[in-house]
Symmetry: C2
């Protein structure tokens, strides 16, 4: 099989070709410019690739309601030119193949459930913690949508008692994204996150916020795996700190080995590494092909 995949990020686009085993056979990337310039690059790339389907996992917010008149559009992003842009429709005019269309984080969750850390499981939640915080949700064997798509990066968190940083989210100030995304670390400690030593108190504070959101997710959804990706999670010293804080938050209430002795194998890095997004888009394309 030849499945086209588009991982559409706010700063760069990655396009590639994958197969039904999740292997990515080739890939290119280019910066995210205006939608017209960027989609022209995408169309050029796929022009002669003879793909059977295309999966798109994109930054958002996006309209994912097939019954909506603006299905396939980017909705309210501040990114110049992209607000209201008909991303999916533009590609459908060029390629007569089935299309998968979802958020980048839902794509990553599906990729992880298909070939990665949650392979064979009926549920997982994928967090990306980088310049923002995004959440993809896979439950009972399906990606979760509703009114819109999950936006769990913006849940409220309790402030750390020693934290005086006000948070940078323009909507909520000190929500999870406002307190725990990469820019919050830099603004709070006045240094790039990558320059902080692994034993710096910044990491315990970071884990404090991330663990609250994860504990809430475990309580509400009981996912079979929690996967933490994104640039901030390259700081692997965060994992044991998060494990400990999640257990402290749950305090024994959820009675399952995965959140007790097995927690190091329950809250994990992406099994697909930095390919989670692109592989996830392959998985979206495969699902679209199966439905067609």
């Amino acid at each position: 099989m030849r499945i086209g995949a588009i991982e559409a990020g706010g700063t760069k686009f990655v396009c590639g070709i994958g197969n039904e085993h999740g292997d990515v056979e080739e890939r290119v990337s280019f910066p995210t410019e205006t939608p017209e310039v960027t989609l022209a690059n995408v169309i050029n790339y796929f022009r002669d690739k003879k793909v059977e389907a295309i999966g798109i996992g994109t930054f958002g917010p996006i309209d994912i309601d097939p019954a909506s008149a603006t299905y396939g559009h980017v909705t309210t992003t501040p990114k110049p030119g992209w607000g209201g842009y008909d991303f999916l429709g533009t590609l459908k005019k060029e390629f007569d193949v089935p299309f998968g269309w979802d958020t980048d984080v839902n794509a990553a969750a599906l990729g992880e459930a298909t070939w990665g850390a949650a392979k064979g499981l009926s549920s997982c939640v994928y967090y990306t913690i980088g310049t923002g915080v995004g959440v993809g949700v896979y439950s009972e064997g399906r990606l979760v949508h509703g009114l819109v798509h999950p936006e769990g990066g913006h849940v409220l968190v309790r402030r750390h008692p020693e934290d005086t940083y006000e948070g940078f989210c323009p909507y909520h100030g000190d929500c999870l994204e406002g307190m725990a995304a990469g820019p919050a670390i830099e603004k709070r400690w006045k240094v790039k996150a990558s320059e902080l030593p692994v034993d710096h108190p910044a990491w315990a504070m970071e884990a404090f916020y991330i663990a609250q959101a994860i504990a809430g997710t475990i309580l509400l959804l009981s996912p079979k795996k929690v996967i933490l990706g994104g640039g901030v999670m390259h700081q692997l010293q965060l994992f044991p700190l998060i494990h400990e804080q999640v257990q402290r938050n749950l305090n024994g209430y959820v009675n399952h080995p995965s959140v007790k002795e097995g927690i190091a194998d329950y809250i994990v890095s992406p099994g697909l590494g930095d390919n989670a997004g692109l592989c996830g888009s392959v998985a979206l394309g495969l699902e679209a092909l199966k439905r067609s």
Copy 2:
């Protein structure tokens, strides 16, 4: 059709017969005693009823994993005699019909999605706020399970700045249940909740806590309806207070009419009223019959 339904509560059991339209044709109730006494009453009731299936929506926590050796058991409840009891197995020995088995709140969510306030929608979340707080989750047309079942009554909340009450949850102190279930209201204000006037500041504080959990649920899952049942929610003055607080928490970030001008029709009372639990158990029985 004749579907048996069991709404198994911590203080009383309700048993009844329903049909595929969600009509409940008859019902009985009796107090929850030891499992042996209580289940003998259940078995007696259904003995000559000629039901085609039985749905059970029960207090928990329970084992809902069909692959588990203790599937159908109550797990770690402090209720005398019930911890580890084989609730489902005891009934299966007596009645050779398909059985549905889930939590009371998941049952209520399914009932509301089948015949109630979320009829025809692909998702809803059902909160019961009474002596405790429970949450049922229906998403993409299915009830949500995972490691265990949703336990969203125990999510962390931010304390109200004027609240000095410490919370009564034995696991988490001041989680949602600890701060917002009926006993918290009584302990905080030293008076029965039902005796507080409708304009008492207790209700704004109550809404403050409930709205945090709902806003978090909307962000993570984006359900198409949020349904609030249970004894505390008989205080209908809570609804506008909750609507306002949810909007304040989201602060315009989720761009959908349901959480803006349509919020009074989005966060609502159960369409099935106090029948949500029993009708939900009928719906569980119907699903079991369809699967069989």
